[in-house]
Symmetry: D3
Subunit: 137 residues, 6 copies
């Protein structure tokens, strides 16, 4: 048996799918309109799942406000209202697909969680119909 | 390969996060405004996932109406339009965090399911952004 | 032709439908389980619509952050995580139905809006299926 | 660690829950109003989850547009605006419960996915509150 | 100033867009795949708005449960899990577009409302993106 | 009495709130983080409401597919996956606030509607909580 807690946080950003190591033609072929030079944008949702034992004194696995604070401090504060390809140093060498964002966000949040609280999945929702998840299993 | 069925049921309740074995200061420090003495409330959503083999004659793992009836009879009928700290005998010694509710609700529904239908996860959504899940794995 | 701006803000509260000037029987007959003595709760959504002329320099009718700040300062900060029948002085003589809340919230927010920005409708959503609106027309 | 991508596609269809090998009484007893002779309908949502390694050149596990195209070509184009019991040859011997649809849809989409992209779960949502999932584990 | 109350109720039905007074070619040309002979279906949402004065004793314009009961008794009980072209006598001469359903549903519910409660709008949502409204102004 | 039809269409775009006729300080003061130089983005939803008489032969005020096609051809095809400040000629002198977009989109779609179908409101949703509407009354 196991307990998990799930929270969602939000940000709004521009991005462009582009691999600068490849030609313009390659990029246009792979990414289509997502490669438009000035970027487009999303209302991103980050959904994080943590696992652990609820504390018997408080009934909390983790205070959900604290979990959101970790996600905001390590991720949202850096990317909200930004262009992901240009203004975020730790995304500089990353093509900002949902898959890559999920992995990088997962790695940024993990070390900031308290002992006994393990991040087991982080999902980046680009739209209500499109998302990618990075998981610990 | 496996088949699961997921349903959602709803209730509206008040609760207060408070551990009577601890001091008022401790409670205020841990729970903040969730410790306000007269409680606050939520439109709760219970999401239950069951696993099993669909019956070849009906194509049903379980009739979803029957699954909802189990959840309503064992949980919703007792907590809907109630104050969870005061009016529900089987929650009396429980701090009604989402984590604890998920566990207690899971244990109440499990023995009422028909043979071959296993409850594998029960999630309590407090809001669209906050939830806790109790799982069988 | 006219321009309107709509924003939503949120709070979580307990309430009880009860008219203290009437008998317990009357209250139970009118309000049913909404009259349960210890109250129940909701994730409330306030949706406010304002009308006016966008400023040609900014393109804003009103900065939506500012509109939300008015709603938060005049309403949400007083009712979030509260029991509406007990802990909010300006709701003391009000039966906290959605209809009454919409009217009182409308009247609290209106005088705090800047010149040229008129509140024309305020909706209180108790659930995704139930709401009441107070309108200026 | 693993990466998954999730997409949703939509269709609108009529269906009737009925097992022609059984009596009318049996069918009425098992399926209730879902057995009404002329059928009823849903706005169905198909949610598919695939697992694999993102390509380091593109950052894509799979282009989500391509994944949706597979689901549309193998499933949606055949069932959208159809009566599932009558007009879809490959559903002819299937009682169109959500459980059975999830299994059949899973089997139709799987062989059309590119190498390295594994379908691990397919969910059929009949409503926001009722769904069934067929999974690879 | 005015107060309105809005509620939503749900049903699941099959329908076919077809005018029997016209040729098959005409029908196919006008309605496209919505004319498929065996129909398709929707999870319909009915959203009703009523206007009136809240009762000072109860704070209710109308008990929302009662308003839903009117909609269920006059509409939902007749159309839920039905084929709208075949099984509903009062829809027999109506092409079941959202526009026509909104008008007929409006006319069925109106006379059943209590004095002082006026139905001012009824919306039929076929999907989250498509709806029609019949209004009293 | 009147009938209206409402549809929603979607696009994803980057934008920056900036008035080039004003100083950088003015812009930063008015628009805050929405003025970040490289822009941010949204999953925009356009919601359009038209009024008219349903055709007695078809039951349609307008085929909702045709209404969406007008919105897509006159608006979405030009702005989807674009940076609204840079890549859309007819937005060149417009600060792309929701208020201004609603007005410009309204004016682009109106002349393309068939006789008897009047656009009465167009809403631009930037997020689920923020929107602006341009209306004909």
């Amino acid at each position: 048996m196991a307990t998990t807690v799930t929270v969602k946080v939000y940000f709004e950003a521009a991005h462009r799918l582009h691999n600068p190591a490849q030609s313009d033609d390659w990029n246009r072929g792979i990414f289509g309109k997502c490669n438009n030079p000035h970027g487009h944008g999303h209302n991103y949702v980050i959904e994080a799942v943590v696992r652990g034992e609820p504390d018997p004194e408080s009934g909390y696995l983790i205070d959900m406000k604290d979990l959101k604070a970790v996600l905001n401090r390590t991720i949202v504060d850096h990317v909200d209202h930004r262009h992901l390809n240009i203004e975020v140093p730790w995304l500089e060498d990353i093509i900002p697909t949902a898959e890559n964002l999920a992995c990088v966000f997962f790695e940024r949040a993990t070390p900031e969680l308290p002992d006994g609280v393990e991040l087991i999945a982080l999902t980046v929702h680009e739209t209500e119909r499109n998302s990618a998840t990075y998981t610990a299993d």
